[in-house]
C-alpha cells in the first residue's frame, strides 16, 4: 500500500497523526504533514483509511496495491 500526501492542501490540524502516529507526523514550525512511512504494512490499512476520512483537506490518498 502506497500513501501520498499533498502538502499544498494540508491545513496542519494533525487529525491524521492522531489516528496513524506511525505513518504521519507534523513539521515543528508550521504543522504541515510529514510522511514517516510511504509504504506501510498492510495491517495499517484500517488506520490509513481512517486518516483519509478524518483529513479535513483531502490531502491524503491511498493506492491499494
Amino acid at each position: 500500500m502506497k500513501v501520498h500526501i499533498d502538502e499544498h492542501r494540508c491545513v496542519a490540524g494533525g487529525q491524521c497523526v492522531l489516528v496513524a502516529p506511525d505513518v504521519f507526523d507534523q513539521r515543528e514550525e508550521d504543522g504541515i504533514v510529514v510522511l514517516l512511512d510511504d509504504s506501510p504494512a498492510s495491517d495499517k490499512a484500517g488506520e490509513l483509511q481512517e486518516a483519509v476520512v478524518v483529513c479535513p483537506a483531502a490531502a491524503i490518498r491511498l493506492d491499494q496495491a
Binding site: V11, A12, G13, G14, Q15, L18, Q26, R27, E28, E29, D30, G31, G46, Q49, E50, V52, V53, V54, P56, A57, A58, R61
Partner: protein, 373 residues
C-alpha cells in the same frame, strides 16, 4: 440492513459512505445530492478560490476513481423532497421513490438570507462553488464591497478582498467580531489585524435595508440612517440547517436535527455533519475522544482551534503574547481545559496543548502552568 440512503453529497455524506463500506457494508448505497458536483471542499471557497490561486477543479474531495470504488447509486443534481418514515422511503424531486432500511441525513446548512436581498444583482452569499466564482469575478481594484456579518466567513473574505485592493466595509451587529466564539481578547486581536490592513469595521451596527439602483444593489443602510455605498454586498450572517425537506416527517428539528451522541435521531435515521445538532455535552466527553478541529486564515495569520470553544466559561492566554501576534489561548468548561486556540503559533508549541485538551486537563493546572511538558 440492506439498503442505506444518504441525503447530501458533501463532506459528511461522503465520509459516512466511506465508513460504511470500510466496515464491510456491501448492500445498496444510494447518495442523493442537489448540487451537480461530486463532493467538494468548501473551506477553500473563501480562501484559494477567492484569491484565484485555485480553480474550482481543485475542490474535489476525492478523485473519480475513489468515488467509483464506493460503488454508489449516486444521484447528483436532484434534491430529496420528502421522507415517509412509516414506509421508509425518500422522495427525490424527480418523482421517484427510494426505499431505505437506514437513512443518513447529511444536508448541511445554507446561508441565512438577508430579508429582501434575494434576486438583487450584486448581493452575494458564499456556500457553493458557483457563489465563490461569482464573487471572485467581482473583486477588483477600487470596487466597493460591504460585508454584512463579521463571522469567520465575513472576515476571511474581507482579508482576501483587501489583498485585491477592494474597498471593504465589514458591518457587525455585535460589539466585537468573533468574540462570542473565541473570547474578547482574541476577537480584539483579530479585529486589529483587519483594521491594519485597511478593512473598515463597523461594530454594534445593524443593517436595516439594502439600497438598489435599477435591479442592482447600490448600498447598505444601517439602522442609524447613514448610507454605505456598495458595488457588491456579501451577506454572511450565519446559517440555517437544511431541514425544510423533512417537514412533516416528525423528526425533532430545533437548531438542526436533534440526535444523540451516536448521531441517531430516530430508529433507522441518523444525522451527520453540519445539519446535526448532537446532544453531546463536552463536559462529559470521554477521555481521549477525538478532539474537534477548526481552522481559519485571517489575513496571513493561521488560526487553529482544537476542542470546544463556544460557550466557554473562562479563557486565558496560556503561551505566547497577543501583543507579539502569537498566542495560545485556553478555554474552560466546568473544571477542565476543553479547547485551545492557536494564533500564529509554531506547531511545536501547539502539539502538547492539543494532548492536554484530549486528556481533559484540570483548568486550574493548565492556567497556572507556563507550558505543558
Amino acid at each position: 440492513m440492506r439498503r442505506v440512503v444518504v441525503v447530501g453529497a458533501s463532506a459528511a455524506g461522503l465520509t459516512t459512505a466511506e465508513a460504511l463500506r470500510r466496515q464491510g457494508f456491501d448492500g445498496l448505497l444510494t447518495m442523493i445530492g442537489d448540487e451537480r458536483h461530486p463532493p467538494y471542499d468548501r473551506a477553500p471557497l473563501s480562501k484559494q478560490i477567492l484569491t484565484g490561486q485555485w480553480g474550482p477543479e481543485h475542490l474535489r474531495l476525492r478523485p473519480e476513481s475513489d468515488i467509483e470504488a464506493l460503488d454508489l447509486d449516486l444521484r447528483l443534481g436532484v434534491a430529496a423532497a420528502g421522507v415517509d418514515r412509516a414506509r421508509r422511503t425518500v422522495a427525490p424531486a424527480d418523482g421517484s421513490t427510494v426505499p431505505y432500511d437506514t437513512l443518513i441525513i447529511a444536508t448541511g446548512v445554507r446561508p441565512r438570507p438577508f430579508p429582501g436581498g434575494r434576486g438583487i444583482a450584486g448581493v452575494h452569499v458564499l456556500r457553493t462553488q458557483e457563489d465563490a466564482v461569482a464573487l471572485r469575478d467581482r473583486l477588483g481594484s477600487g470596487r466597493r464591497l460591504v460585508i454584512i456579518g463579521a463571522g469567520f466567513v465575513g472576515t476571511e473574505v474581507a482579508a482576501v478582498a483587501r489583498r485585491r485592493d477592494v474597498d471593504v466595509t465589514l458591518v457587525e451587529s455585535a460589539a466585537q467580531p468573533l468574540a462570542r466564539i473565541i473570547g474578547r481578547d482574541a476577537g480584539r486581536f483579530l479585529t486589529g489585524i483587519h483594521r491594519e490592513r485597511g478593512v473598515r469595521i463597523l461594530t454594534g451596527v445593524r443593517v436595516a435595508a439594502l439600497d438598489t439602483a435599477g435591479d442592482a444593489v447600490s448600498g447598505v443602510r444601517p439602522e442609524d440612517g447613514r448610507l454605505l455605498p456598495a458595488d457588491d454586498v456579501l451577506v454572511a450572517i450565519g446559517s440555517l440547517p437544511n431541514t425544510d425537506w423533512l417537514r412533516g416527517s416528525g423528526l425533532d428539528m430545533g437548531d438542526g436535527l436533534v440526535c444523540d451522541v451516536f448521531s441517531r435521531c430516530a430508529p433507522g435515521v441518523y444525522a451527520v455533519g453540519d445539519v446535526a445538532h448532537n446532544l453531546l455535552n463536552p463536559a462529559d466527553a470521554q477521555p481521549f475522544a477525538p478532539v474537534p478541529y477548526f481552522w481559519t486564515d485571517q489575513c496571513e495569520v493561521r488560526v487553529q482551534a482544537h476542542g470546544y470553544l463556544p460557550g466557554h466559561a473562562e479563557s486565558a492566554v496560556l503561551d505566547g503574547d497577543l501583543a507579539q501576534g502569537r498566542a495560545l489561548i485556553g478555554y474552560s468548561r466546568g473544571r477542565h481545559l476543553t479547547g485551545v486556540l492557536a494564533i500564529g503559533m509554531p506547531f511545536g508549541a501547539v502539539r502538547a496543548w492539543r494532548t492536554a485538551v484530549a486528556r481533559r486537563t484540570e483548568w486550574a493546572a493548565a492556567a497556572s502552568l507556563p507550558a505543558p511538558a
